[in-house]
Structure formats: C-alpha cells, structure tokens
Symmetry: C2
Subunit: 268 residues, 2 copies
C-alpha cells in the first residue's frame, strides 16, 4: 500500500514546496514510484514542476469536493517516469467554505487514499502555511509527517503548536500518525543562530524520546539543505534542481537527503 | 485621524513580521506615534517585540470578537515611548470560525478603527500568510497596503492574486484602499534572480501606471532590505534590530527605509 507523507509547517517560507518538489523528484528518480500532491491554493508545487494550474481537468480541489479519484487526478511528470503530480488551482482556497457544513470535512482526503490500490510507493503532500482544513485533511490522510524547518527563532517557535495539532489528530481522526523526521532547510552554515536553534531542537526531542508522543521517534535528518540560490531559481523554469543544475550544492544536498529518507522508509 | 496600513503577502516567510516590527519601531523612534497590530495567530510580531502572547487581557482577538476598543487592546512597548502594540494569541485562529455566521465578519476591524479618535499617527497591521478572513479584515480597515516581497520567482508569482484581492476589496467594502508600496526584503545583492524579479516587477507596475487600479501609484521603495542574519537573531531576544544591533546592515536598511516611508506618507 502507498505510504502517505504530509510535509507541513504553518510557518511560512521554510522550504516545504522546495522539499516536496526536489525530494519527490529524486525518490522517483531512484526508481520508487512516487506521487506528489499540491494542497496549497498558491499552487507553487504545481508551478515548480512545470505544470500550469487549472489546466488539468482533475486536481486536488476536485479530489476534495467531487467523486474524482486520486489516480484520475494524477498526471505523469515529464522527464521522470516514476513521478506523478496531483496539481491544484486557486479554487482550492474555496474548498474550506464549500466543505464547512460537511460532518466529515476532515476526512475527505483520507477516504480517497486509505484502502485504495494506488500505483505508488510514496504519496507526498505539500501543505499551505496554516493549520486550516486543508492541512488537517493532509494530517488525516497521512501515515507520516515530515517537518521542514528553517533554523531561525520564529520558525522554531511555532513547532510546539504544530506538534500539539498532530497529537490532537492522533487522538482523533488518525490514531497511527507519527512524525517521521525534521528537515533543516535554508541552513546558513557557520551562523551562531543555526547552531543554537539546532541544539534547542535536539534537546526538545530528547526530552520526549521514551514517551508515546507522535514525535517520540522523530529523527532530525543529518543532511541539512544549505541556502543556495539555485534552489530559488529552478521553480521559475518549472524544473527540479536535478534538471536545472544537477551539480549545484542544492542538488547534492537533496540527493544525500533522499538517501537518508530511503534508509528510514526502506525501498521496495 | 490615524493612517491604517496593512502589511500583506500571502506568500509565507517574505519578511512581513520583520518589516512591521522594525519599520514600526523606527517610525515611532523618529517621533511619530505608531501602533503595530499582530493579526497572525502565530503571534510572531508580539514575540518579536518581547511580549508573551496571551498575557495581556486585551488583544486583537478580543478586538474582533468582543466590545474591546483599539485603545484598550494596545499596550505601550518598553523602550520606545511612541510605540504601541496590539498583541495577539493563538486563539485568534478560532476567530474565523467564530465569526463565520456574522454578516459583517469582514468589517469587524474597520468598525473598530474608522472614525475612532485614536492617539496614533500610523497603525500598521502584520497579517498571516493567507487571504483568509483575518487578512480581509485588515484590507477592510486599511487606507494603504505595503507589500513585502522576497525577490524570488515563487514570491513574485503570487503578487497577481494579491493585487486582484485588493481590487475586489476596493470594489466592495473599502472603496479608497490603495497599494502604497512594495518593499524588497531578504535581498541577496549580486544574484541574477533578484535583478530579474525586480525588472519583472517594475515592468508589471509600469503597465498600469495610468490606470485607476489600486496599485497604479504603487512605489517600489528604492531602499531594499538585504539578507542579514542579525534580522533573524533579534526576534529571539524580543527586540527590534535597533535595540539588538543598531550598527548592523539590517538596522541601516530599515532606517533608510523609514526615511523613504516618511517622505511618502509625510510627518505631522
Ligand atoms: N535551500 C534554499 N536556498 C535558497 N532558497 C531557497 C531554499 N529553499 C527554498 N528556497 C526559496 O525560498 C522561498 C521559500 O521556499 P518555499 O516556497 O519552498 O517555502 P514554503 O515553506 O513552501 O513557503 P509557503 O509557506 O509560502 O508555502 C522560495 O522562493 C524558494 O525558492
Ligand atoms: N532581511 C532578512 N535577512 C535575514 N533574515 C530575515 C530577514 N527578514 C526576515 N528574516 C527572517 O526570515 C524569516 C521570515 O521572516 P518573517 O517571519 O518576517 O516573514 P513573514 O512574511 O512574516 O512570515 P510568515 O509568512 O510566516 O508570517 C524569519 O525567521 C526572520 O527572522
Ligand atoms: Mg509552499
Ligand atoms: Mg509573519
């Protein structure tokens, strides 16, 4: 069965979309059939992979509000035969209002994924910068959560709230969800701030190692993603970093991260 | 009467909070009584100015959902006699649901500001990274909009949607709103990407110069805010950049920006 991974952080601009685009690309590139899903009305993952929002007849908006299935909503990404994308469009912003009087509004996505015979090994969901209905749908459907984190004070501050939300989801609609890992993004090597924040993070996780909290087993990936302007250039060309500049520091970092990801999750 | 300025960009992590904290601090520091308001449940502006979210009896959540007035919700910021803060707390995230069946839910903030005899020259509102009810309340109450923009492709892409939302607000609840300016944040000097994005931005604005669109007069501030790690360190100390490291590039940039802001808005 597909392993569903929600990539979440309500703090804005910490590298969620960049991580789903590049990690997803490389996991597929190593032969693991992978689908990435855009669940942010900004449609940045869709753009990042070179697809025009609103053009595909089916997408994640349809997945939530109509009978469209995940397989129907997925399109194969040019240049990577093991990669699929469920794109989105700006209309997704209306889903929250349109579903507001549905009792099961938090479970729409879970119903479209759980128990379905989907042709992918991994399904990775890019979420918007909020803890709204769209993000709760991703948490309801996910087996695991990956948290991209910029090693800054404001970004670390919100982590507690995010983890509490995941705990609530575990006590409610999704009793098996767990936090698989934290990915340090936009890392500025040599800054005191990054070192302090990372130390704080390890101390925080250490304190809950032997608990049954959803983040008790969370791993801070050893490979950090360094700040690298090429990672900000490639979305403008509709390409992953591996297509745009395979020898850049950004490509090296995401390639090494992919190796650590597959060690953690295993391959088939 | 107070001049109300909404600082908005639904793209996450582009420098909204950092700009309200530091620009607000310096405008007040030059003698113009200023209030900054935290309208993001993350409460990052509140933290940035050294205040604990949820401690103050009145805040922006109360302002929206109770009879609390703006003056009651404001507290004076230690160390800057002309600066006030309307803090917030995480409960603000619930305001959207709590107000969902109020006909006038978009006008709550406007009613608390318009026509009130407030003791400030400027009121500057920090918004969350979305175009939800909280942001629409800020747009409903604002005379002007300032748009912090990181010169990256993904950040520029969302500008069109933001401007269209402002146009809708102008055609509906706030007929005089205008876009006063765009502030380039986290600017990485010497990168091709920044130069390209800035060129695109100028071209886009040039095309609507003689129209009656809300952004026809929008100015791209000549002073950019360069990427500078001190700006990411100071929130962790609950200080503006001017308290934390007044000689840093970050303090120089925000100081020069303040001069250009007051040229545009005038002083009293
Ligand atoms: N390691 C990096 N080095 C340099 N730039 C980066 C890096 N990772 C991401 N970026 C750029 O920084 C910006 C923010 O990244 P991204 O959009 O992936 O974050 P996000 O968390 O998805 O944002 P949002 O909260 O708006 O969804 C983008 O312009 C992206 O191109
Ligand atoms: N010029 C700069 N140089 C370096 N770091 C910066 C700069 N401006 C802001 N930062 C840091 O970058 C991160 C994002 O900035 P900030 O939180 O102000 O953006 P935002 O738009 O308010 O984000 P959100 O969308 O989550 O509200 C923060 O950690 C902040 O400390
Ligand atoms: Mg994103
Ligand atoms: Mg902010």
């Amino acid at each position: 069965p597909v392993r569903t991974i929600a990539v979440i952080n309500q703090k804005g601009g910490v590298g969620k979309t960049t991580t789903v685009a590049n990690l997803g690309w490389q996991i597929a590139g190593l032969g693991q059939p992978t689908c990435v899903m855009d669940l942010d009305p900004q449609s940045h993952l869709t753009l990042h992979l070179g697809v025009e929002p609103g053009v595909n007849p089916h997408d994640s908006y349809e997945l939530l509000v109509t009978e469209t299935t995940a397989s129907q909503a997925a399109l194969q990404v040019a240049g990577n035969e093991n990669l699929w994308l469920i794109p989105t469009r700006i209309d997704l912003a209306a889903a929250e209002t349109e579903l507001s009087d549905h009792e099961d509004r938090h479970l729409k996505l879970r119903r479209k994924i759980a128990g379905q015979n989907l042709p992918w090994r991994f399904l990775m969901i890019d979420c918007p910068p909020s803890l709204s209905l769209l993000t709760l749908n991703a948490l309801g459907a996910a087996d695991d959560v990956l948290i991209p984190l910029q090693p800054h004070f404001l970004a670390l501050h919100g982590l507690g709230k995010l983890l509490n939300t995941i705990l609530m989801v575990r006590q409610g609609i999704n009793p098996t969800i767990r936090v698989a890992g934290i990915i340090l993004c936009m890392y500025e090597t040599g800054t005191k701030l990054a070192a302090e924040v990372v130390a704080d993070l390890h101390e925080f996780l250490q304190a809950s190692r032997n608990s049954d909290l959803p983040w008790a087993q969370a791993k801070v990936f050893g490979q950090v993603i360094r700040r690298n302007i090429k990672l900000a250039e490639c979305p403008g060309h509709g390409q992953s970093i591996f297509q745009y500049d395979p020898h850049s520091a950004g490509a090296q970092d995401y390639s090494a991260l992919t190796g650590q990801f597959l060690e953690l999750f295993g391959t088939e």
